[in-house]
Symmetry: D2
Subunit: 366 residues, 4 copies
């Protein structure tokens, strides 16, 4: 087991929240993919807290590409991206050191690492590690886009408020790419923000559901058993902090329906085979069928809240209370959206490279 994902395109994460830097190595990328640092910066910007809705930790997220890019393009060698940590206030964590923050990995980590873990700011468990995922993912997203594959994610639900569902996928994905707060319906966006502000005011937090769509994927990608498209995507998506549920197509929402309603009937349209509905989320038998891949991720409310909670001191093995005064987001879901896009892009690059070879996504053999 380790902190890597992928078979042919592999991402490896490293770093701790309050260490010198976080980073990622991305190996197996095709040579010749254009790398535009301003695009990476723009994606990182989507991940940063904004307005009054997020943590007051403000990282510049200045990144360095250490390797794997030459003259503006990927070389085909491992690409390492490094993002130094700057705005660190470790003092916040000293007093909590032996207290298990509810909903956090502190106690599980203690059992695994026997006290050797870097406890400051969540250490290697910190959401800060999603910054290198986004940096790496932005290159993957660009490579896919050059192949006609686009990915978009919006807050389908947040703080009890619902956005409208995807409608015209191409238009909706294009619209989302310009929004920092990724909600399709403007009124819903305002209501969600209000809900987040209210939770913040109460020292509490909210979560929700992200809906993602991928268009342009060729049919015939994935394996029948184990390395199904759903299996590979969910494997990676569940490592996004706070994700506790993943469903493809209709998922749990149609658990009560019948086969005749759930099945997606096929049709020939403009000489192409399509399905008339997409309750299977573009995947049959683990393999893409050429329709958009659709899925939802449930994002739990941020576990760090200001409200006093019951917990234990795991060194003294005794009950106690905890109040968390660090800088935290009343909702991570607005920031998680770009992480989902990035993780999805990385998994798809892996799948497509395995299916079509190491030059498929690059400038080499086209």
């Amino acid at each position: 087991m380790n902190n890597s994902f992928g078979r042919n395109v592999v991402i490896t994460l490293f770093g701790e929240s309050h260490g010198s830097a976080v980073g990622a190595v991305l190996d197996g990328l095709a040579p010749g993919i254009p790398v535009d640092e301003s695009v990476i910066a723009a994606q990182l910007d989507l991940r940063r807290p904004f307005e009054d809705l997020g943590s007051s930790r403000r990282e510049a997220d200045r990144f360095t590409i250490v390797s794997g890019v030459f003259q503006g393009k990927t070389t085909g060698s491992p690409l390492c991206v490094l993002i130094p940590n700057g705005d660190v206030q470790s003092g916040d964590y000293e007093e909590l050191r032996h207290l298990a923050r509810p909903g956090h990995a502190d106690y599980a980590a203690q059992c695994k690492y026997h006290g050797f873990q870097d406890y400051r700011g969540g250490g290697h468990f910190s959401g800060r590690l999603t910054a290198p995922i986004v940096a790496a993912g932005s290159i993957a997203l660009a490579a896919l886009k050059a192949r006609g594959i686009t990915i978009g994610t919006h807050l389908l639900r947040c703080g009890g408020v619902s956005d409208r569902r995807f409608d015209d996928l191409q238009a909706d994905i294009a619209a989302l790419s310009e929004k920092r707060f990724a909600v399709l319906d403007s009124a819903a966006a305002e209501a969600m923000k209000e809900s987040i502000r209210q939770a913040a005011a109460e020292g509490d937090s909210v979560g929700g559901v992200l809906e993602t769509a991928v268009t342009g994927l060729p049919a015939g990608v994935g394996e029948p058993w184990f390395d199904t498209v759903e299996g590979l995507l969910s494997h990676a998506l569940f490592s996004i902090p706070a994700v506790k549920g993943v469903q493809f197509g209709a998922g749990f929402d149609m658990a009560d329906t019948t086969g005749s309603r759930f099945n997606d009937c096929f049709a020939v349209e403009n000489g192409q085979i399509v399905t008339r509905t997409n309750h299977n989320g573009g995947v049959n038998g683990g393999i893409t069928n050429g329709m958009p891949v659709l899925f939802h991720c449930m994002v739990k409310p941020t576990p760090s809240i200001r409200k006093i909670q019951q917990t234990v001191d795991y060194d003294r093995l005794e009950n106690t209370d905890i109040q968390i005064n660090g800088r935290h987001d009343p909702a991570v879901i607005p920031r998680a959206r770009v992480v989902v896009d990035s993780v999805t892009a990385l998994v798809l690059c892996d799948l497509l490279t395995g299916r079509f070879g190491t030059d498929y996504l690059g400038g080499g053999d086209r």
Copy 2:
């Protein structure tokens, strides 16, 4: 990509629905695990259609352990189990050969395998492949049980009817192990069966939700990124045919709640650290926290239905109708329950072997 799963304990599936046999190789098992063929047979029996609720294809599921077991115990070498196919009626499939059955992998497979796939009875995609998963899983389940780890799954919802939630986990899991129709509440069981019968009568099918609990897992197993407990389990669970959603703990059900309600507060009880609730499903930051691991799998309605459906002939690229007259289950979910137990056991054996070494689950070094 391939049809294997696991890093240290690895299962590899092979076979087609109407070939000579299906089977699995299970590698990385500890030496010295007792293998009781009657237990394997009993687990396979739980997977078979029963009463009037399932497919009329009746396989004896006589299995052969080809390798890896000597004098009644695992040797530590790869264990191959072979399950011959008997009750095969391939004629049912000839006329459908170029028709894409809605909800099935036929068309996706055609795109991936270019017509070389064995199309009879779903070929390698068939639910028949879950038989070797159950055979292999029964050995994994026994090895875990010897370590005090138990797994149980029930139909939380089926055909629009709900079972009660897990209550006393040990008692409920014990009760489930004796039931062929894995529902905790007897009245709910009857209502579910009635719902299945009604769907069958209409040439239709139903699905539902399975709820699984694992007790006795040590804390400190899993990785923070990518190889999280949720990620590894979901990866494997999504390859069970018809599973389209996986959630851990409360999952989507509590998408609208706040952090103060979702967080599981810690407490010391009888000298042990526990959580007062278990909305996180026994996993924090990807790592077990010592509480029961809880998750739900959404199982879609069986795609094979007798009702006439619209589809395409993918060779002629034209629209047509299809009526599926093979032998199929109006609900696979009653049979999927033991597959979920088996897959879960295999993933946990892999995780525990990686964490504690290759002798942990065997008779070697204890």
Copy 3:
């Protein structure tokens, strides 16, 4: 760790020498590769002991393809081949049960498997497991040949006698494919056989060196670090029983030379870039350069000999003598040659599939 090899094309071995069968699962093969059972049989025949030079255990090697082949071609699903064991005389091993045969894995296996291993006939360690390697390899060899890639191996040295080196590779490989005793020079062949017979007469055994050539490989396959062509080939080759050394190109033979003599100068010949010599064995920096891949495997003398040897009883922890009266080969190297060809073919299928995609070796997209 497990008994599998490969990333995109993966072979998994199972079985024991005196169990019911040995076999392999080969996953990741392209769909559409023709599978000719008579070719598999012919390759297995090359692996069998012959004339008076090998073990008197005579296995029919009747194999069954359990899965993955449909209408004479690979489906793209896992291919399982099963080879039943027939001519088994386990009694030979009972008396040796706690004695560590020198040069064998008995004692190492005892330390690893704690006595649960199947000790009969070497169990899972037996050279018998190379039969499924050869069966699987024969399909890989055919797929490569269809792409213009050929592989040949001869006994460069055996029992102190040397064969001539490869000269005209295409002609030599063609000639070898027709020889059961794979020696290019007829006089050398006779002298080697005589040397083997003499060792047999003395209750002893001999080993030697195999030389292998691969022609037709495209340039640009392999990775600079770790997954080098040399690293991947040697990884797999060292699992052939008795192989204790692997060198590429000139290897150890030119350890004393200078860079100006070792370097392979490049030249343009008929519009192609070639090297004037091939001391690097067709690989530079871990990556194929388009020249034939050349390597040697050192095969140690068969450890099973009739001569009395000193050893220990590892249960009683005391010194004793051992005389091995089972049926053994005075030289395995004549039979190992086809195993080397097979292993090489499997590794190359994996490398090429990773490089050019899952359809490259099949009939799909060509």
Copy 4:
């Protein structure tokens, strides 16, 4: 395929010779391993050119541990080490840009990366990448040492001169750890240096053979097929630049001998089972037998030489001459010795962690 190695303890390399830095991520290390930066520095120092025998490129090799170490010990999270490049003279390479340096990867890289590779100083293929291997390896070596496992490598042969073989392993390994020029016999050391100087004077280079010994390994580690100890070690060793041959125990040297001479007879000594000879190099059937693991690596002469050589311009596809004026080592073998130690340590940490669990090498559960 990628630039990583290991299953449970995994190293991933990144960086180019003339980029900003080279580095490695080492994942899967036990928590609690002491990390002494002066030990890392000392090991890196052994890799640097010294006296007048190496390249005039003089890198300070100041390294930064970016992650995975906290309060002087490993955390159990991925450890990233970064080594900036300083003394870079890329101009040396501009004029050679389209010329394939004989013995180098330039042409193979062009075929693989289609011109997108960083050609400066060998790019990702450079021996410079062995610096992070040594940094990571030094932590692995320390962890092994704490478990009683030691590794030592000497120049058995260089420039036509032979060192004495290993004799008293413990004493020899201890002696080697203090030598920058790792030769056991002082007279041989002087003769080798003289041979290197002479090659340098002629604008040429020399290679040789490294002999490595590992003591203290427990018996019962490794797998019978594919993941044999020999297979895993050779896989990693062949990625050390210039290694073209690997043999275990006697290897090619005893290709002409008989089984009765090659076999290592077992004996009980002081209550321990040992072998009387060690021609199998401490490995039987792919698994350690408790004796020292012994192997040789053949290191080819440095391909970069000042002498004029024939080659091609691969852009113009025409023959030409080349003279390489960069800063190069007339022999890399003195520097390769610590790389072999490091690679060996990394592979063994992976094997032992897989066998005994993730805490085995750390301070956690002891």
